[in-house]
């Protein structure tokens, strides 16, 4: 995998240099903490089983970051690079296509972890939020969720004609999910009919898995979410591999 570390470093730098992407991934979830924290505080509430609103927002907004990166960053960047001819230029080197994909996934994992670290730091400083789970299990969940969301993103990039279309498809898929999956706002606040809709949304399983593992629930209780996300990865990843275009 020659070039992997150099390409990943460069991609991370470029990600941070892109103000809009950096805002939505890094600053937006943290901003939500500031806004909703000011509105609701973090007092223990029976709605959340004795947890505070900010406590449950930590894994929820982590899912939001994963959704933003997988369903917006991945399709926009990939389709944009294809449209501009960046992918063509990479193809005209001995670098393997797999190296490019691996570097993209590593970059997005790094950005996810950076976003979550920022989120947690602000949550801890203002509301003393706690992480009560196993960090390795959480990392596994983040990686699996990232792969599942990114596979959807690559498929969007593959079917979209260009970056604009990819952005529109990504937004149409992502924004309803943001509100209905429990990532953007607690699922407990939705009426039961809408809660049922959430069962059909991929991001819901990211939010449920992260929330469970964040608060230390046994991994065995979340095998269904793991299975759904693995299924998404196989189906969408397979379709993306089939339809991916370098130019």
């Amino acid at each position: 995998m020659r070039g992997l570390s150099e390409l990943t470093n460069t991609s991370i730098i470029l990600y941070i240099r892109e103000p809009i992407a950096a805002f939505f991934t890094l600053a937006f979830p943290t901003m939500l903490i500031l806004i909703f924290g000011a509105m609701y505080g973090n007092d223990p509430s029976p709605i959340f089983g004795g947890l505070g609103s900010m406590d449950v927002s930590m894994p929820a907004y982590s899912a939001l970051i994963l959704g933003t990166i997988g369903l917006l960053s991945v399709p926009i960047t990939t389709a944009g690079y294809r449209e501009q001819g960046v992918l063509r230029r990479f193809r005209a080197t001995p670098m393997r296509p797999l190296t490019y994909i691996a570097s993209d996934l590593l970059t997005n994992l790094a950005m996810t972890i950076l976003g979550m670290a920022l989120l947690f730091t602000v949550g801890w400083l203002l509301y003393r939020v706690q992480f009560e789970g196993n960090i390795l299990l959480l990392l596994f969940a983040v990686i699996l969720s990232g792969l599942a969301m990114s596979s959807m993103g690559y498929l969007i990039a593959s079917v979209a004609s260009g970056a604009r279309v990819a952005q529109i498809i990504g937004m149409v898929i992502f924004y309803p999910m943001m509100f209905l999956s429990g990532a953007g706002m607690p699922i407990e606040l939705l009426p039961p009919s809408l809660q049922r809709v959430s069962d059909f949304l991929p991001l819901t399983y990211v939010a449920r898995l992260l929330r469970g593992l964040w608060f230390g629930e046994p991994f065995a209780d979340h095998l269904f979410e793991v299975g759904v996300l693995a299924g998404i990865l196989v189906v969408f990843g397979g379709a993306a591999a089939r339809y991916f275009r370098w130019e």
């Binding site: 020659r2 150099e6 501009q84 001819g85 063509r88 230029r89 001995p94 393997r96």
Partner: protein, 304 residues
């Protein structure tokens, strides 16, 4: 010595269109080999088959004896590519781009030295998006040279550049060859091919219609040369028709145009004017060029 590039009966179709229709040629080491022709003639498809970016539908393509599509990673290590339509991330800086591409190869040159050679050292920290057209092309050439390639492919290198930038690109291409690389380029500027290339393949509708050195092509064309001048002191009877090589003399008031052929055509005419004491001014010669070769082969002018 085996040729560096060998193409035999290459065919590439897009749907019903035979974009490249049975092309055969070979390029020797150290040559600047050009492929010219109008847009859509099949030049880019041919170069991309050689670069291993497209799979031929028929025929054989080899680079250093290897199939560039099937052994693309081995071949990519030894060739340098400048693509017609490609770009880099707009916020990527020049220095970063070179370091990044250097990391893709087993034996890259020092990126700093390459920047200096391309006259881009002051732009090392500039984002790609802020470069002028000429600077950007220099950066793309730098990327193509980062692995000390034995063959460099340049696809429409100077399209869209102003004449000054174009000339400096020509110098750069000659320099690349002088440093030991074989150069394969495409262009739709006939003048560029004529001035830059050792040998030229003229392409039209997916076929090679002529392949030779530009000079030989023009010479073999047998097109007449033309010389015109302004007579200064009135209407004297000119005895130019009788000169060897002169085929036609045309006179419009004081402007005389003489057409003919042969190596010494121009000096003969001028000497005859001198010998007869004819005063003239504003002497112009029109040499046939590759443009005329294309016209005579295809019956059409190359449009830009």
């Amino acid at each position: 010595m085996a040729p560096v590039l060998e193409v035999t009966g290459l065919v590439k179709c897009y749907g019903d269109l035979r974009a490249v229709d049975g092309v055969t040629f070979a390029v020797d080491e150290g040559e600047i080999f050009g492929m010219v022709g109008p847009n859509g003639a099949g030049k880019t498809t041919t170069i991309e088959c050689l670069e291993g970016l497209r799979q031929p539908d028929g025929g054989r393509v080899s680079v250093h004896g290897k199939d560039p599509y099937k052994e693309c990673r081995t071949v990519m290590e030894r060739i340098g590519i400048q693509l017609q339509e490609s770009d880099l991330p707009s916020r990527l800086r020049v220095g970063e781009a070179l370091n990044l591409f250097a990391s893709f190869y087993a034996g890259p040159v020092d990126p700093e030295m390459l920047l200096e050679r391309m006259g881009l050292q002051e732009k090392a920290k500039s984002p790609v998006a802020k470069l002028s057209g000429g600077q950007k092309q220099r950066l793309f050439i730098a990327l193509a040279l980062i692995n000390r390639p034995e063959v460099v492919f340049l696809d429409e290198l100077t399209t869209g550049l102003d004449p000054q930038a174009r000339r400096s690109m020509w110098d750069l291409v000659r320099e690349i060859r002088d440093q030991g690389s074989t150069v394969f380029l495409t262009t739709h500027y006939m003048e560029e091919a004529e001035r830059l290339c050792d040998r030229v393949a003229i392409m039209d509708h997916g076929k090679i219609v002529a392949l030779d050195s530009p000079r030989a092509m023009i010479r073999n064309l047998g097109i007449e040369k033309r010389l015109s001048f302004q007579l200064l002191n009135g209407s004297k009877e000119l005895a130019l028709d009788a000169l060897p090589g002169v085929e036609h003399v045309e006179r419009r008031q004081d402007r005389v145009t003489v057409s003919g052929s042969g190596k010494r055509f121009i000096s003969r005419v001028v000497n005859a004017l001198e010998d007869n004491g004819i005063d003239f001014d504003d002497l112009r010669t029109e040499q046939p060029n590759l443009e005329d070769v294309f016209l005579s082969l295809t019956g059409r002018a190359v449009r830009e």
